[in-house]
């Protein structure tokens, strides 16, 4: 957070292939607390979109309510945004996606917005395999109402006021896997190196890409005893792999030691390189992913990286067999059957 965003930019800011600098991908000034993990995620989104040469106005960003859901104002200022109602971003994203299949849909939500009030809509967006990226900025608490435990707070985690959470945490990645999500990843707001390629891969994924990002709340949940504090997460993070994202049609020049790496070829031909993959790990095998998630949870570790990936699924447009053209682009003259047809219909009712 800063009170005035400096207007000055380095005159030689690097440009991407579209001729844009990162500035074209930034949003307005953040009103979140200084050091908030959410702002790091926003910065990673800016960087990912810049590097992927995405036209900013081709992204639609949507959110629910809460600290996380305020962030779409702070990145991608040239994209349309929709700050919906609490827990209902998935339905608005679904309708928007049905109207125009050509935009990139980026949903941003929080742990309260997704795991509590919005649980119903979240699970149904997953099972419809809606073509969108769904990022949960997960801090285990309700920041905007001053730090109440959320449904993702770990059992036994201590709040700033000293109370201990007595309830089981909802594991959003585990849930997404269970529901048949086709892209499941987990990361940490403090690990930009991992987060940026994961966001890129998620945005390239055809189908529902779920990204749960542990994002400590510096004001209400960064205390000793909290399992969502910066210190705790840094000490317990277990990266499944470090990774690079290679966009489609880019020649792969780097080579990695055999046996320790895996390449994930995505729907559009892009590649996700996974290095130093953990033993017995297969991100294309749902069972393996579920087992790894469960094991890390039992061991009190935070598993990060690409948890699961499947590029064979059909998204909602595929299932509904909708027109290849965006529905919002079809002229009314084509949509309206006209009077002759109506006379036929009348005749059938006489």
């Amino acid at each position: 957070m800063s009170f005035v965003r400096p207007q000055f930019r380095h005159p030689h800011l690097p440009k991407n292939e579209l001729g844009y600098t990162t500035r074209e991908y930034e949003g307005s000034l953040s009103t979140l607390c200084a050091g908030c993990g959410h702002d790091s995620i926003g910065a990673a989104i800016v960087q990912a979109c810049f590097e992927m040469n995405i036209e900013p106005h081709q992204v639609a960003k949507l959110s629910g309510i809460g600290c996380s859901s305020k962030t779409p104002a702070y990145f991608l200022g040239n994209s349309h945004g929709f700050n919906t109602v609490h827990g209902r971003m998935p339905s608005v994203a679904t309708g928007a996606n049905m109207a125009n299949r050509d935009l990139i849909y980026l949903g941003v939500s929080g742990d309260g917005d997704t795991a509590s009030i919005g649980m119903g809509q979240f699970v149904h967006a997953v099972r419809r395999n809606l073509n969108m990226t769904y990022i949960v900025m997960n801090n285990g608490c309700y920041g905007l109402t001053k730090g109440q435990d959320s449904a993702t707070a770990d059992m036994g985690s201590k709040s700033k006021a000293g109370s201990v959470n007595p309830f089981e945490a909802i594991d959003l990645c585990g849930l997404a896997l269970e529901l048949g999500a086709s892209f499941v990843a987990q990361s940490f707001s403090g690990d930009k190196q991992q987060l940026i390629p994961l966001i890129k891969a998620a945005m390239h994924h055809h189908g529902f890409a779920f990204l749960n990002v542990i994002s400590p709340c510096v004001t209400f949940n960064n205390n000793v005893g909290s399992t969502k504090s910066y210190d705790y997460v840094r000490q317990h993070v277990q990266a499944t792999a470090t990774m690079d994202f290679v966009p489609p049609a880019t020649e792969i020049t780097t080579s990695y030691a055999e046996g320790a790496d895996a390449n994930v070829t995505m729907h559009d031909g892009s590649l996700l390189h996974l290095h130093k993959l953990a033993q017995g790990w297969d991100p294309s095998d749902r069972m393996s992913a579920i087992e790894a998630l469960q094991r890390s949870r039992m061991e009190g570790k935070v598993l990060t990286g690409l948890v699961y990936y499947d590029d064979k699924g059909k998204d909602l447009h595929d299932v509904l067999n909708t027109s290849a053209r965006p529905l919002n682009s079809i002229p009314m003259t084509e949509l309206c059957p006209g009077s002759a047809k109506l006379r036929e219909i009348n005749a059938g009712l006489q």
């Binding site: 309708g95 109207a99 309206c336």
Partner: protein, 597 residues
């Protein structure tokens, strides 16, 4: 009770026994003979087993509202037989299956019993169990056609149309009709004192239900995204859209020019509509009162964020459980002020399927012109029953009004776009569609807490300016919504009658009945909210105004008092809220009780 083309027949059936198509055949055949007919389903919240009724009013005068008193009851449901015997008017007829003898307690001395061995005959004539059941229904239609002189060729034609493509089903159906006719001819004096006689009174009218008409209207209105959650009595709106779109909205490559999503609940359904219209598609949902309750939060967001929404509310008796298959006009207050904060919504009140079609198509224009939710207030009676009405009409010269949208070309010419600027002074701002322009026109949609340029602010003055602009938009809405229907050129009475929706048919009949008794009242049919200026004029011009509606609390009366700021004593409620469609007789009696003798 000798009467031609003026009687009520009630069919008492068991739900799920295939009676619906036979009963429809009966009603449609009379319609085909050029005689006005009004069928109504009275059905339980049940799939199979409970009693269900189908009531057909035949009216030479063209009265299509429900009428009390049954002239002839066909009772093939032992479960409801006692009740069915009681519903027949003295001097009326009771048709039953005499395969089993009638219990003594069911015998009334003041009505005539016509026993037909339906089960015995069908068991003898057909071998398949399902056919035995189904053809009992067709056989009683045959019997009625003999008793009431319905033309056989009309029935035969209807069966041919119904089974086009399944021709082998025609012969056994015709045979069942003939079995019924033969039995009457050989055993019962016919025709009855009341019967049908061919007329030319229906013109080019169509017979259809409001939900199908809404679905079709949405196809013509250009809807591409439909989101809904199943709920009686609105389910068939989405289903009708689907079946029409499946025929009319397929691309050359076989792909659909529409998307229908069955949502996880009504909250999601309205959210999807909002997302789709924000993104430039025309979209709607259909639901009933419990669904509107759940949609309240989103309706408020759409009002404040100024997102076009079309919502078809097929009203039913409240609350969620109880009588979901009975009709009412009881969501008026709920819909008018849905959501938290200062919200008001545009409502349209169709009274016929034709108007369901027109208003649904219009509502997409209105929603985009006003950038706000439009609710079409249908009800179970209108939505799920067949009504004789004007044929659907579409003017090919008509263009769809997409409202105020800045495209990329517009944006190029603007220095700074302001989503909530009142550029034209009518309270309606210009919107942009996501993806329109690389660097101009983007903004973050929020409820309030933003200024004219959609920039976040918690400034009180900016909030108030926005609320006042929304009030201005509401005033603009009054000039765009459907004007009320007037019944007289000049006012002739100090007494006025207001009504809307499905109260219309019975209200019109009641006005005739009152006129016959020497009471001539002025009348106006409401078609929209906010109230058109013609409504305030009507109220101002009458000392007392009767407000006819189908709910307990006089919800429309309340709306009139609040919105027109009129002395409540000038409005008298005329109500019906038992779940059955209001009758002319009820209206007349209630109005008469307030008139000097």
């Amino acid at each position: 009770m000798s009467a031609c083309n003026d009687f009520v027949v009630r069919f008492a059936n068991v739900n799920g026994t295939g009676s619906a198509s036979a009963n429809y055949l009966f009603a449609k055949s009379i319609f085909r003979m050029g005689i006005p007919v009004s069928p109504k389903n009275i059905f339980p919240s049940n799939i199979q087993g409970l009693p269900t009724w189908y009531e057909v009013r035949v009216s030479e005068k063209g009265y299509l509202g429900r009428r009390e008193g049954v002239d002839l009851c066909v009772s093939v449901n032992p479960q409801s037989m006692k009740q069915d015997v009681q519903c027949v008017k003295p001097g009326g007829y009771f048709v039953y299956d005499n395969t089993k003898p009638l219990a003594d307690e069911l015998v009334r001395p003041d009505i005539t019993y016509i026993g037909i061995p339906l089960m015995e005959t069908c068991n003898r004539e057909y071998t398949d169990a399902r056919q035995r059941q189904l053809f009992k229904n067709v056989m009683y239609v045959g019997a009625l056609s003999a008793l009431l002189e319905i033309e056989f060729s009309v029935l035969e034609d209807l069966l041919r149309e119904q089974f086009a493509g399944k021709e082998k089903l025609i012969a056994p159906n015709v045979k069942a009709l003939q079995l019924g006719i033969d039995f009457i001819h050989q055993n019962v004096p016919y025709p009855l004192p009341f019967r049908v006689e061919r007329r030319d009174l229906v013109g080019n009218s169509i017979l259809t239900d409001g939900n199908s008409a809404c679905g079709l209207g949405a196809v013509y209105g250009g809807a591409t995204v439909v989101a809904w959650y199943p709920i009686t009595p609105s389910t068939s709106v989405a289903e009708a859209f689907h079946s029409y779109a499946d025929e009319l909205r397929i691309d050359a490559d076989g792909r659909s020019n529409y998307a229908i999503v069955q949502a996880e609940d009504e909250l999601a359904a309205i959210g999807m509509v909002i997302g789709a219209t924000w993104n430039g598609s025309r979209s709607f949902t259909a639901t009933s009162g419990p669904g509107v309750s759940l949609m309240n939060e989103f309706l408020g967001l759409a009002y404040f964020a100024e997102i076009p929404v079309v919502l078809i509310d097929v009203q039913r008796t409240g609350p969620s459980t109880g009588m979901p298959t009975r009709t009412q006009q009881s969501d008026i207050t709920l819909a008018a002020y849905a959501s938290h904060g200062d919200t008001k919504h545009v409502l349209l009140f169709p009274s016929t399927p034709t108007e369901c079609f027109d208003m649904t198509a219009d509502s997409f224009d209105l929603a985009e012109r006003l950038q706000t939710p439009i609710m079409i207030m249908s009800d179970l009676d209108l939505g799920m029953n067949d009504h004789m009405c004007e044929p659907f009409h579409w003017d090919d010269a008509r263009t769809h009004d997409r409202g105020k949208i800045y495209t990329a070309e517009h944006l190029e010419k603007i220095t700074r776009y302001g989503r909530y600027l009142d550029t034209d002074g009518d309270g309606i701002p210009y919107r942009t569609i996501p993806g329109a322009h690389p660097t101009k026109g983007s903004y973050v949609v929020r409820g309030t807490s933003r200024d004219e340029h959609a920039v976040y602010t918690e400034d009180s003055a900016a909030y108030k300016r926005n609320m006042d602009r929304l009030t201005k938009k509401w005033e603009t809405a009054k000039t765009l919504v459907h004007a009320p229907q007037r019944y007289q050129e000049k006012y002739v009475s100090k007494l006025g009658v207001l009504f809307f929706g499905t109260s219309t048919q019975s209200a019109e009949e009641a006005l005739d009945l009152l006129r016959e008794k020497g009471h001539v009242l002025d009348a106006l049919r409401l078609r929209s909210f906010p109230f058109h200026h013609a409504v305030s004029d009507f109220v101002a011009s009458h000392e007392t105004v009767f407000v006819i509606e189908q709910n307990r609390d006089g919800q429309m009366r309340g709306l009139l008092i609040t919105e027109l700021n009129v002395d409540p004593h000038r409005f008298i409620s005329v109500l019906n809220y038992d779940g059955m469609p209001i009758t002319a007789d009820t209206i007349m009696q209630q109005i008469l009780s307030h008139l000097p003798n």
